[in-house]
């Protein structure tokens, strides 16, 4: 079993909501990264979680930057460190809105230029920081304050977009599996060039479930096949064992959806669409892993 350092970089007294998945995941991201790290944070929940100046709840250097600017800012920073002969890790920690929507152009360009930094998108599937508006990462049928009747478009395939850039390392992970988060961040940072981690962050505030269920919801996402843990290393896909097992014998979708208020009132048609999307994703990954496609 992986030895996770005891040292904490996310200190007590963050201003995160109860049951916050993003600050919990960040705890393991930073344990994996260590002291010699700068975290670049665009507008997202983590902008707030740090607390109010002159205090900060994070014990690494954090550079806060405008919503669309994280990947470009990290590019300049990592180039400057390289020029100065420093080995400091640059990690973008961005929400889904700052990644799949307003920040996508900058991310794409940084991947294309093969900039040397790690981009972690923690995906709570909405603009949770501003009170649960829809983002491109919000799943089909989910209610948000800007899709009060349920979202009528599917979740954007961010991983497909990132994969099209062929970064040396990309992976999905989930806050419910801290050792998986830790291991993948360490691996990403050991590889030169751009790396990308897409982290599912079940958010009690905007998904409307009880704050004590954050980890449970993450586990159910994986066990139902709605989120698949895998890595793509130099183009080679590996589905991680927990997801491999889950895909063989998935938990009923209902077990994942029913605790979430955002899916209340969802009809069978929407459920069928969600299931068909999840199966399509699984099929594509299995084919990729087997080298079929």
């Amino acid at each position: 079993m992986t030895e996770i350092p005891r040292e904490e970089f996310v200190l007590k007294c963050t201003s995160a909501c109860a049951g916050c998945p993003s600050s919990l995941a960040l705890r393991y991201v930073l344990k994996a990264a260590g002291h010699d790290t700068v975290l670049v944070v665009p507008a997202c929940c983590t902008s707030v979680i740090q607390g109010i100046f002159p205090f900060t709840s994070l014990n690494v250097t954090v550079y806060n930057i405008a919503f669309a600017a994280a990947a470009a800012c990290a590019s300049g920073m990592s180039e400057a460190f390289r020029k100065a002969g420093k080995k400091t890790s640059v990690i973008v920690y961005a929400g889904d809105g700052g990644t799949v929507d307003i920040g996508l152009q900058g991310l794409s360009a940084a991947l294309e230029r093969e900039e040397d930094f790690l981009y972690v998108c923690y995906d709570n599937e909405a603009y949770s920081n501003t009170g649960m508006q829809r983002s491109g990462a919000t799943p089909y049928g989910a209610r948000t304050t800007t899709t009060p009747a349920g979202k009528t478009h599917p979740k954007k395939d961010l991983d497909g977009i990132v994969a099209a850039h062929n970064p040396p390392y990309m992976a999905t992970t989930c806050v419910a599996y801290p050792q998986d988060v830790f291991r993948k961040v360490q691996k990403a940072l050991s590889i030169r060039g751009p790396s990308f981690i897409h982290l599912l962050a079940p958010c009690p505030t905007s998904w409307r479930f009880s704050p004590d269920l954050t980890i449970e919801m993450g586990k159910r996402a994986i066990r139902s096949g709605m989120w698949i843990l895998y890595e793509r290393e130099f183009g080679k896909v590996t589905i991680n064992s927990v997801s491999r097992a889950a895909l063989k014998n998935p938990l009923p979708l209902e077990d994942y959806l029913s605790p979430q208020g955002r899916f209340s009132g969802i009809g069978q048609r929407e459920k069928d669409i969600l299931i068909s999307q999840a199966r399509k994703m699984a099929k594509r990954l299995i084919h990729e892993e087997e080298g079929v496609c």
């Binding site: 670049v40 550079y63 806060n64 930057i65 590019s75 300049g76 920073m77 180039e79 400057a80 230029r113």
Partner: protein, 370 residues
Amino acid sequence: MLTIATGNKAVAAAVKELRPAVIAAYPITPQTEIVEQIAAWVAAGELDSSYIPVESEHSAMAACIGASVTGARTFTATSSQGLAYMHEMVNWAAGARLPIVMANVNRALAPGWNIWAEHTDAFQERDTGWLQVYVGTVQEAYDTVVMAYRIAEHEEVLLPVMVNLDGFLLSHSTQSLETDCPGDFVPPFRLPHAIDVAHPAGYGTLTGPDDYFRFRWDIERSMRNSSRVIRETEQDFSRRFGRTYAPVEEYRADDADVVVIAMGTLGKEAEVAVDLLRREGIRAGSLRIRWFRPFPDLDLSGRELVVIDRDYSFGFSGILAGSLRARTRADPYSVIAGLGGQEVTYDDIAGFVRGREPGRELWFGVDRDV
């Protein structure tokens, strides 16, 4: 070494002397020659900078910000639409107190598409906390980029500087250029608040009204300090290289009854108009405003003023004329001329002076009776 160059090449040559660690830029007409020249030098190993070919101006400034906060010297260049697209990060650079130097090749904003000279693009950034300087010759473009780094990086300033040159009229005009290898005129860059991972800090965290307000005042205090730093830098530059600059360039203005005030290449054109008018017996002079931020102190009492704006603030006035009215008791004859690259000759400027109507506004070539 005496050579010839365009305004764009002069900017690039000055940047080469200052050796920024990181240059991030996106091409746009009429700025392209600056970044092409820099990219060529980097590729040839003549300039040891990291050149980041970003996908937009927003990212260009974001990359400069990310590099600058590590303590690295940076440079970018843009124009018009690019500057407008960059606007959010232009604010960020000043608020983050990062002494980034940017060349902006002044160009009109669309629609319709127009690639020619106008100052409205830069004036739209005048409230961002950047120092702004407008140059009139190729040599001045070179010299001012050099001075801009020393001013921006001065510990009592630590604000970004935008060096403006008129699209095509200067960016693509060839004039003589003396290059002096002035690199050591600018001391090595040391950013007091540079990232130091041994001492973790939160940059730009959520900031309440009291602290935010203090940070804004601190920008203004540094902007005020910069007036002195600009004067000292220009004087030092003059002592070392023999070329003299001032925040406001005066031409035969001492005994003038009527003074033409303009910026950029129009300010140089006005000097020719002054000679013409003097030969006619009109005691004319001119002032060319170089530093627009911080705005210079001017004593204009007892003179008639003709102010030429290559820009406009709709529903208000020419931006230079409006600024002069706000900072002095002047009630100038305000001429709006040269928008979208409209040709304005020294004959035209002499005509503005001859036909001046204090307190009124003329849209040159559009309406004689505004």
